[in-house]
């Protein structure tokens, strides 16, 4: 059916247009609307409280970050102004344009921190995807009984509902010099003596972040895999497709939206991460999140705002790139 045909069907009342999630009987044309009020509570009353709440606690804070990033810092606070100096400080250090200085053409520490945060996020995302996909595949494709599917899925998801600080702390006894992993490796003779690089290192940071956020990737991938029409797979099998072909031609493309949503979750979570670094990295590294909090602590609010704004920008770019690669609209 072409668009025009389907539109004609709708306007002539063959197919009732429905609300975003269906259920409401549709009012078919304007003349009928006058006589028949839509059933249910009025929409404005239903959406007003939540909308107001989001304006006060989501949009005004984000807008103020943007506004404050142009204000002047006074040492203990800020005053309204329009200055770009904080943005300049974000990108370049003093001596950027002076060929004799060692800082010549070197980006500032803040830009490099954002870059490190981004690069690290991508690494953790990749690991999360590699770990989460087979798991979601197992739960949705290999476990046939629905009850078992739900139970095993919930079991994997439960840690998401427990404190993430505590889960980060829980890595300490695993990774330390006398931690379980070292004991284990010494025990099986893989290494002669305990190594210290497991804790307070990039390794421990990666492990902890993957463990904290991998479940966020499992959920969406699981749902998109579970939605795949099984008769498609059967048809492909009947026509002689190998399991690998079925995966490549049917399962993988159809699960892409779930993968994208999972990756967006993991991406935004880790980009804004700041507490885990302190726990398992010993504060040896800084993320843009820690930079923001540090500048807030010394009352340089505009500079904290600049870092926050740049973080937001980097995240938006990342999300847009993911959305460009995969069309998730079908999923919503």
């Amino acid at each position: 059916m072409t668009t025009v045909e389907s539109y004609a069907k709708i306007t002539h009342g063959e197919v009732a247009p429905r609300g975003l999630i269906g259920g409401a009987p549709a009012v078919l044309d304007e003349t009928k609307r006058k006589f028949r009020r839509e059933p249910g509570f009025p929409v404005p009353i239903l959406i007003a409280p939540a909308t107001l709440w989001l304006i006060v606690f989501l949009f005004l804070p984000l807008i103020s970050i943007f506004i404050f990033s142009f204000w002047k810092t006074t040492g203990h606070g800020m005053t309204p102004a329009f200055t770009l100096e904080h943005y300049r400080d974000f990108f370049i250090t003093e001596g950027f344009f002076d060929p004799k200085k060692p800082e010549f053409l070197t980006p500032s520490i803040f830009l490099r921190t954002l870059w490190t945060t981004f690069r690290f996020t991508i690494t953790v995302m990749a690991i999360c995807l590699i770990l989460a996909y087979p798991l979601a595949y197992f739960l949705s494709m290999q476990v046939e009984d629905f009850k078992w599917q739900l139970t095993l899925f919930l079991l994997a998801m439960v840690p998401f509902w427990t404190s993430y600080l505590i889960r980060a702390v829980a890595w300490l006894p695993m990774l330390g010099r006398h931690g379980l992993i070292n004991e284990f490796l010494v025990g099986i003779g893989a290494i002669d003596e305990p190594v210290s690089f497991f804790l307070y290192s990039e390794f421990s940071y990666t492990m902890a972040l993957v463990q904290l956020y991998v479940v966020l990737a499992v959920g969406p991938i699981f749902f998109s895999l579970a939605k795949i029409d099984r008769t498609l797979l059967e048809a492909a099998r009947d026509m002689g497709a190998t399991p690998f072909q079925i995966f490549r031609e049917i399962i993988a493309p159809l699960s892409l939206p779930g993968v994208a949503i999972g990756m967006i979750f993991v991406f935004v979570m880790i980009m804004g991460e700041f507490a885990t670094a302190v726990v398992v990295y010993g504060g040896k590294t800084s993320t843009t999140g820690t930079v923001i909090l540090n500048y807030y602590a010394i009352a340089n609010y505009p500079f904290a705002a600049v870092n926050a704004f740049m973080l937001m920008l980097a995240m938006m770019i990342g999300v847009v790139v993911i959305l460009r690669l995969v069309d998730i609209r079908k999923e919503l």
Binding site: A24, T51, W53, L154, W161, L165, R167, P173, H178, L311
Partner: protein, 275 residues
């Protein structure tokens, strides 16, 4: 039944492989927590890593005694109150929003993305934005309003998605029947809609409660003078880490698990009843 064709054997092998992978995954996710549980019963002279030097409840007793961090009991109470309020507001708002989304209305797309962006905006940004905004307005942040505000922003999308899914499978003819028999909107809602969607409301509340109870990033600059429990946990991290922290972590985790269990039980009962 002799079904052991090569095809079946291959399938069984694949399934076994995946099962082993699932088990390893669970160990990865739960393992550190079990290490922490065990070490919270460390002997008085033991440290934060293995080996266990004896077995005692020394660190648990220390946890209930006067603390160096702050008044743990008071912050636990604050966290609980906050979580309950967030739970109620999340359940209420997400139900109302999902009911609105059953119809088509202007700006529904924008509102949908607005609600969803609560998932996308990192806590540290909201914390910073609201904290500096309040500071500029001359208001002191406090856990019961500013932290509450951003907690709901975070939990609302979860509850909303749950309620959307509920109404997606909802049979609107039941409501139409009630309307045809002359029931007004309130009666329809109270007698028909509400009993059918109560399990969903409980699930939405579960997200509200547990996510708020454990939330740290969104509270960090917004709790004001009085800490919530995650803030106290974070404060104790900056001091020398002792097994007390493991006891606290164990207690907090067990409590979270208990809450999830309670919610699942309530959900199951209500779900059976609504059938």
């Amino acid at each position: 039944m002799a079904r052991s064709t090569p095809e079946h054997r291959r399938k069984a092998r694949v399934k076994a492989g995946f099962s082993v992978y699932y088990a390893i995954f669970l160990i990865f996710v739960y393992g550190p927590m079990f290490a922490m549980f065990t070490l919270s019963f460390q002997g008085p002279r033991g440290g934060v890593t293995f080996p266990m030097r004896g077995f005692s409840i020394f660190w648990w007793e220390k946890l209930t005694g006067p603390s160096t961090v702050g008044d743990l009991k008071a912050s636990l109470v604050r966290s609980l109150i906050l979580a309950v309020v967030v739970m109620v507001i999340t359940a209420l708002f997400s139900t109302m929003l999902a009911m609105a989304f059953r119809k088509r209305f202007r700006g529904s797309g924008a509102l949908f993305y607005a609600v969803m962006s609560g998932l996308m905006v990192p806590g540290v940004l909201l914390s910073l934005g609201l904290a500096s905004m309040l500071r500029q307005l001359g208001m002191a942040p406090a856990w019961w309003y500013s932290a509450l505000g951003v907690h709901v922003v975070w939990t609302l999308p979860f509850g909303f998605l749950v309620m959307m899914a509920v109404f997606n499978r909802f049979d609107a003819r039941l409501e139409e029947a009630a309307r045809d028999m002359g029931a007004d909107e309130w009666t329809v809602f109270k007698e028909v809609t509400l009993p059918l969607i109560t399990p969903g409301i409980v699930a939405a509340g579960l997200f509200g409660f547990t996510l708020s109870y454990d939330e740290f990033a969104r509270t960090t600059l917004l709790a004001g003078a009085n800490n919530t429990l995650p803030l106290d946990i974070n404060a104790s991290l900056t001091q020398r880490v002792q097994p007390t922290l493991f006891a606290l972590g164990t207690a907090s985790t067990i409590f979270s698990l208990l809450m999830i269990g309670v919610f699942i039980v309530i959900y199951t009962i209500l779900y059976r009843r609504s059938r």
